[in-house]
């Protein structure tokens, strides 16, 4: 924060610091947002603060699938209860689970890891919700794990790690991962080597398409 902020009222300084803690918000944007809040009518601002409080007070993460839940019993959320746990789709973040859920393509349950393995950022497997996943697998109900981590270096590393420990310890569970390749609407010309190489490896026979 710039030293110029010291002449601002403490309340505004506090707000700027709070906004700055959000991802993607730098000090300048935090200032702009704070001034906006100052000029906003009280009712609107209170709606925001109420929404923030409610999110933290009413929602938590399920201890089993690690997805968000408003259940008081967070050991087995309504979602865990409702969905078919023989097929678990493993994702990095809540937003990934919501995206897949909204598309309607997956009827099984989810497991949210809350991140991806990234040694350079000090994130190892022990910082993710992997132990929780193993506990679920120990129940013996799971037939398939769909690894849906992102096709980034961290996401791939996480997928490889999970693949290794699951295939070594649970030989009956089928492991699959989402297909990698060209995104629709992209030009070959601008594709990176990794995407191209994956698209070639995962190429399909013309019959399968039709």
């Amino acid at each position: 924060m710039t030293s110029g902020n010291n002449s601002l009222p403490v309340e505004v300084q506090k707000l700027i610091i709070a906004f700055s803690s959000l991802p993607g918000i730098g000090p300048k944007t935090a200032q702009r947002l704070s001034y906006f809040v100052l000029s906003q009518n009280k009712e609107e601002t209170l709606k925001l603060s109420e929404a923030l409080t409610e999110v933290k007070e009413n929602l938590s993460f399920c201890n089993t699938c690690c997805f968000i839940t408003n259940d008081k019993n967070s050991d087995n959320c309504g979602y865990c209860y409702e969905k078919d746990s023989s097929q678990i789709c493993v994702v990095e973040n809540v937003i990934d689970a919501i995206t897949i859920e909204m598309s309607g393509i997956h009827n099984g349950s989810f497991h949210v890891l809350h991140g991806a393995i990234s040694p350079i950022n000090g994130i190892g497997p022990e910082k993710l919700k992997i132990e929780e996943l193993m506990k679920r697998l120990n129940k013996g109900e799971t037939k398939e794990i769909i690894l849906a981590t992102n096709p980034t270096l961290e996401g791939e590393a996480t997928g490889m790690y999970l693949n290794k420990i699951i295939s070594e310890n649970y030989t009956n569970i089928k492991l699959t991962r989402l297909a990698r390749g060209l995104a629709s609407g992209t030009d070959l010309e601008y594709s990176d080597f990794n995407t191209l190489s994956n698209a070639f490896q995962n190429r399909t026979s013309i019959d399968e398409i039709n």
Binding site: G122, S184, G185
Partner: protein
């Protein structure tokens, strides 16, 4: 004043998502560590997407800026796909990138470190002993930055080291002879280094890499030598690298 487009090559070491669709990333280039923003790179249809990933060697065109250089065009030169297929190699590559970052500086000629990194990353998946490649890399990069290890004489009395087991101190930047070690109260911070391990380091320091094949290289010898260099890196930069803690290394 309208800024003109510039061109640079380098390896992307880390990326973070920014706002809706942008990515911010760090590049180890010929001219040191640089930070960039790639606007819209997270959109699947972006020409930048896919290229902007850690462990990609890229050709970048950008508009320089005081805060974050803004990328206009990017092409991959080498994506190190063989490394990306193996979990352990990814961890090793991340360690090498973090090490290079920590010993590179901004706005300084960095071509040696970049070329050393590219060379090691290009060979590691074919290597019989990847950790030996990494040891050579660690040794060379430390030496290049002026923190080379004294391998032939005692760091305290300057006497030539006899052919024997000796103790290494990262704070002293080298070994103690038997006499000096016995007379000093520094035992807690020293690593015992065998004759074979010293021979390995000396062979690397003379760049006689072909001769390494003649040495009896067990994992333990390499690991001890790496530990000693990692301690030196820690003392030089003042912190332990995050990637060092990963047991798989």
């Amino acid at each position: 004043m309208k800024s003109t487009s510039k061109h640079i090559k380098g390896i992307i070491t880390r990326c973070t998502n920014y706002k809706e669709a942008d990515r911010i990333f760090t590049l180890i280039s010929d001219s040191g560590i640089m930070n960039f923003i790639a606007r819209g790179a997270k959109k699947p249809k972006s020409k930048l997407s896919g290229h902007i990933e850690p462990l990609n060697y890229v050709n970048l065109y950008y508009r320089p800026s005081k805060s974050l250089n803004s990328v206009s065009q990017v092409e991959s030169i080498n994506s190190f796909l063989e490394i990306k297929k193996e979990y352990n190699l990814i961890l090793k590559a991340q360690y090498m990138m973090e090490l290079s970052e920590s010993l590179s500086s901004e706005n300084e000629d960095n071509s040696y470190i970049l070329s050393l990194l590219i060379k090691t990353l290009s060979n590691i998946h074919n290597s019989k002993i990847p950790n030996l490649d990494i040891l050579i890399y660690e040794f060379e990069i430390l030496k290049y930055q002026g923190f080379g290890i004294r391998l032939f004489d005692c760091t305290n009395c300057n006497k030539k080291l006899e052919r024997a087991e000796h103790y290494f101190s990262s704070k002293a930047g080298g070994f103690y002879c038997g006499n000096c070690f016995d007379s000093k109260e520094i035992h807690y911070e020293c690593i015992k280094v065998s004759i074979e391990q010293q021979l390995l380091l000396r062979t690397i320091s003379r760049k006689k890499y072909m001769e390494l094949a003649n040495l009896d290289l067990r994992e333990k010898e390499i690991d001890t030598c790496r530990k000693l260099i990692q301690n030196s890196v820690r003392d030089v930069i003042g912190v332990q690298l995050k990637t060092v803690n990963f047991s798989e290394l």
